[in-house]
Amino acid sequence: MAAPQVEHELHTRRFSRNLGVALTLVCFVFIVFGLTYVKITNGGLNQGFDHVVRPELMPLEGAVTEGN
């Protein structure tokens, strides 16, 4: 049997505060998400290097490495 739901006086009294904080947090999440999306899609030379060979780090063919 479910417990009776009684609205506590504290919740009523602080409703505007709680709602304001909740909306602010939702907006903040949206902003961070939006920024991430924009930064990634407009990032220019983004490179992901997860187990992928990075050609620019490979020694040039025929190049003499220092010390030899």
Binding site: L10, S16, V21, I31
Partner: protein, 313 residues
Amino acid sequence: MTDATQQIGSYEDEAQFGDYVALLKPRVMSLVVFTAAVGVFVAPVSVHPFVAFVAILFIALGGGASGALNMWYDHDIDAVMKRTSRRPVPAGKVTKGEALSIGLWLSGIAVVMLGLAANWVAAGILAFTIFFYAVIYTMWLKRWTPQNIVIGGAAGAFPPMIGWAVATGGVSVESVLMFAIIFMWTPPHFWALALFMNEDYSKAGVPMLTVTHGRRVTRTHILAYATILAPLAVGAAFTSIGGWIYLLAALYLNVRFVFGAYKLWQRDEVQSEADSYAAEKKYFRFSLTYLFASFGALLLQAFWVQGFGMGAW
């Protein structure tokens, strides 16, 4: 009973969300939003609309945070002055500690988020602005020298410079001129207010120029600053952000601003008291129009150059 309500006294004055928003001085924030937006949009570098929106939002939040720090430190004089006595801290809605905490947290969030959204030059200028307003102006100059609002006015002058830095990543003559316009506009604006709110500042012991040197000297200072402001404002028309739209607006607004200051300078206290400071109140209202119209003209000029279609985006 272990109920939490037993541990707290009266709830009649408990703060609502709006009281915390009031800590951030929303009216000042609107000016910050506007001037920062102008700084972003008149810059020659295009910014993604969402990045621009977020940057302006956090510049405004930084401004709001410094407002909360101001209300924390000035709670004693805010309670004395009629104009500020209903602010959340003197009204007993928000505690001093809450104002300080909100101010510090929001300052940190605003600076970090602006740095991440735009660049660290803009974030650095924002951090300096908050420091300047909260520490240099509020804690130091405001109660110490009648030149308080002259130097403290710099805090309000930084937003377009931050906006410009958001777009360009640096500082240039155009952003310095936008800073200079607000910097030189602030003293006539606040001294016009002080002319008809003199009693408030006297009661609070704030050394406003009207309190320390009298209204005659204040009127002379208003005229001097308005006169110095005019060539700076008109001069901006001949930089990369200027053009004929802004030039015409600047000429009209500055002639009116200087002429208004001259009329105030001609008046004495007998005349002012006879009409309940009507001219001073009118000049104060016009000073607000002046700033919005000047920066509005810069924005219009930029959109005109970009073809209204915001083609740069």
